[in-house]
Amino acid sequence: MTDKKKVAILWLGSCGGCDETIVDINELILGVVNSVDLVLWPIALDFKYHHIEKMADGEIALGIINGHVRNSDHAEMAKLMRQKSQVILAFGACACFGGTPGLANLRSKEDIFRWVYQEAPTVINPKGVCPQTTTRVDGKELTLPEMFESVHSLDHVIDVDYYLPGCPPPPYLVLKAITAFLENTLPAKGSSLASHKALCDTCPRNASKPNKVAITEIKRIHEVEADPTKCFLSQGIICMGPATRSGCGESCININIPCRGCFGHIELVADSGAKFLSGLASMIDAEDEAGLEKISDQVRDTMGYLYRFSLPISIMNQKRLQSDEVKSDD
């Protein structure tokens, strides 16, 4: 037996990018693997869930969970991890805020099923086959997890100790978080293991930002040749920097792409989308109401801009969460 700290890595509703970023620590991952005892990592190692079920409560020192919670299987696994782990780290934008899949919350579950299994032009389904939670085949009962009404962030299902945002979190922050865990230097519970500043504060283009940004026309990034040295907002291109936590290493900005907000809200902000909207409004320079309406219409896909990663934790969407009552069978 080893006395190394046990670490489990689990994915829920995830694309695999968060696991990839762990691999992207490259050779340094060998040091991490040597200092901990990995007990679960479905994407990379062949441990089984029942191994975890047999463990004592709190036996895992650190449980790293990426992905959002959308179905009963996700919720069940998240709860098992909580029970067996001393510390739970919500890893990546989906676990922290619900992530991009959270935009599905603008549609009902019924709408989504209807589209995916019946109405989408690529679907041929004359018998109207639709997945059920239980199906009998050859006298045997097959089961599938139940899809919830909406997408949830991890902390709406279980108690979360730390958050590491990003889509995915950059490898240097992953290493920093794991090092802090190994060296017992983690900050207060509930903290985000990233910068406490807004992206604008650390943006290399900050100096080019005029004192008062005056937007007379909103343009999309693919419609213009953006000046790679100037603040995006000053060019009329929507950039979520003012309302987004820094720590990403400005990876998008550096390739001339505006911030999309994957690091989520800054400390004490309840709804980063609403806050950004407020900031954007103050930058708009319109002569009259008609001009204002015109600029407002130029914002294509408002919800996609404001809540690309955070709809499930937004003020209006929180309401749907309770109706799901994911926590009810606790």
Binding site: L277, A281, S296, V299, T302, M303, K319, E325, S328
Partner: protein, 143 residues
């Protein structure tokens, strides 16, 4: 069954609305009234929170154009509200449920009437779609 009376939340700037009378006097005549200093202080967060907590409509009373005590707070409010309409639409909340009215009434006598007009507009729209507050309560009760 009697139709539920729409709930209107009213924010009003104290510089133009009812500053000659006491707050208690206005509050006695209005439900869900929130006096503020400058409509420029109203953040989309406040409006969304009102809708989230079950408001059927939100009425914001600001100072006349060019008369803001802080220069352009009312214009800032208008900009925010115009952008916010796009967000409300995604939640199935009609534009008519959020209104900014710029004007002045030092005694606040017209405020009940303005709220009544808003109530009538909202009543015509019917119950708010996507409002799960009532459904949620019944669901919890049957549990």
């Amino acid at each position: 069954m009697k139709e539920k009376e729409p709930k209107i939340v009213c924010f009003s700037c104290r510089f133009s609305w009812g500053y000659l009378v006491s707050e208690e006097e206005i509050a006695a005549r209005l439900e869900n009234w929130i006096p503020i200093i400058c409509t420029g202080k109203i953040d989309p967060v406040h409006i969304l929170t009102a809708f989230r907590q079950g408001a059927d409509g939100v009425l914001i009373l600001g100072c006349p154009e060019g008369d803001c005590h802080y220069q352009d707070g009312n214009i800032e409010a208008r900009k925010r509200i115009t952008l916010l309409y796009n967000v409300l639409k995604s939640y199935g909340i009609e534009r008519e449920r959020l209104k900014l009215h710029l004007g002045a009434d030092p005694e606040g006598k017209t405020m009940p009437q303005l709220i009544k007009e808003m109530t009538d507009t909202v009543r015509k729209l019917g119950p708010r779609s996507g409002d799960t507050t009532t459904q949620k309560k019944s669901a919890t009760r049957t549990k």
